[in-house]
Symmetry: C2
Subunit: 205 residues, 2 copies
């Protein structure tokens, strides 16, 4: 797995600047109340009490601030996923835990922080770097689990691993992609479990 | 398979009335130009040259007209699906043809009649009866294919057929659901094919 953290795109100046964190926090609050789509950098500047020019010293656009929030949010989600997956004793168990945790985190965000969910959905629809980076991390984690299952004899070894990983992630989209989840809420909790069962049947050697 | 055609909801008066067809045709044209969301029944009445009251003799709301258009549209799609599926010599081939035809029809609509696609997406998001009816027909067709594959020995017989059919339809959502397809266009044509391959591996006896 690739653990390196890349500097989010659109950010300027030294990474470890406390003002940067202050802007991200305040923008997160503001987006939570007024929505990402409707807020401008001017609105944010007014709300935070900084000049627009000062905000532009750290972020080159509203999207750059949105991406920083998404990146933080996705990092928290991946930390939970990594933790839960690591506790699985077999590849089968790890695969189940991967999708249980991902679905639960997406659902939780939908119900508990709807505005944050909205930014995440936005980032997925617009294919922001934060979202593509998250996809890459997921792919790497799933590939690791499949390799483990192939070595232990739990999973088949014939299908090209790239194809297999792509297809599994696509099949889980209705519950792991925030854009799609909102239409499938009435299929929880059995929906994602039944797709995982299908995936595991497809992996039988 | 259930071939009965139910009277679309929200329609009034005798079914086989030529004025009804005239309204549906004209509304389809109007939605194509101005979009479903932005059009009111008053706009439609003006454009068609009927009074609003006269339109309400046949449909009790704008949604009822939209549903009639969607029902027509989905019936055309299902006729193609039924035709292509029937040409498959094995259950495996029929399953492939089912999803090839469905994906192709959804993609075609996206690129060739974007406004019609918009109404369909609307009907899926709002779970209109026309959309739920379509889901039921798809489910019945897929169940028929799975039963055929179980009888011929192509497919496994252990998994409850209801669960299996639900999971397969969910896994294909990224390409058969118009709301999701728009985000996955860059994964055509290999994306749907790879999910179908995964599904077929899961069905191995």
């Amino acid at each position: 797995m690739n653990d390196s953290i890349q500097a989010p795109s659109g950010q300027r100046g030294p990474q470890e600047h406390s003002i940067r964190h202050q802007i991200i926090e305040a923008a997160g609050e503001h987006f939570s109340h007024y929505g990402y789509g409707k807020t401008t950098v001017s609105d944010l500047a007014k709300a935070i009490g900084f000049s627009k020019a000062y905000i532009y010293k750290f972020f080159d656009s509203k999207q750059a601030i949105g991406e920083a929030i998404c990146a933080q949010n996705l990092a928290t989600m991946m930390a939970k996923v990594d933790h839960n997956v690591a506790g699985g004793s077999s590849a089968t168990e790890r695969l189940r835990r991967l999708f249980d945790t991902l679905t639960a985190a997406t659902v939780e965000q939908f119900f508990e922080d709807r505005r944050l969910y909205d930014i995440t959905a936005y980032s997925v629809a617009e294919k922001w770097p934060s979202s593509r980076d998250h996809d890459e991390r997921l792919k790497a984690l799933l590939e690791e689990i499949v390799r483990m299952g192939r070595e232990s004899g739990e999973f088949e070894r014939k299908t090209p691993i790239d194809e297999l990983v792509r297809a599994i992630l696509l099949a889980m989209q209705p519950f792991t992609n925030p854009l799609l989840l909102q239409y499938n809420l009435d299929l929880l909790p059995h929906g994602p479990r039944e797709i995982v069962n299908l995936i595991l049947r497809s992996l039988v050697p």
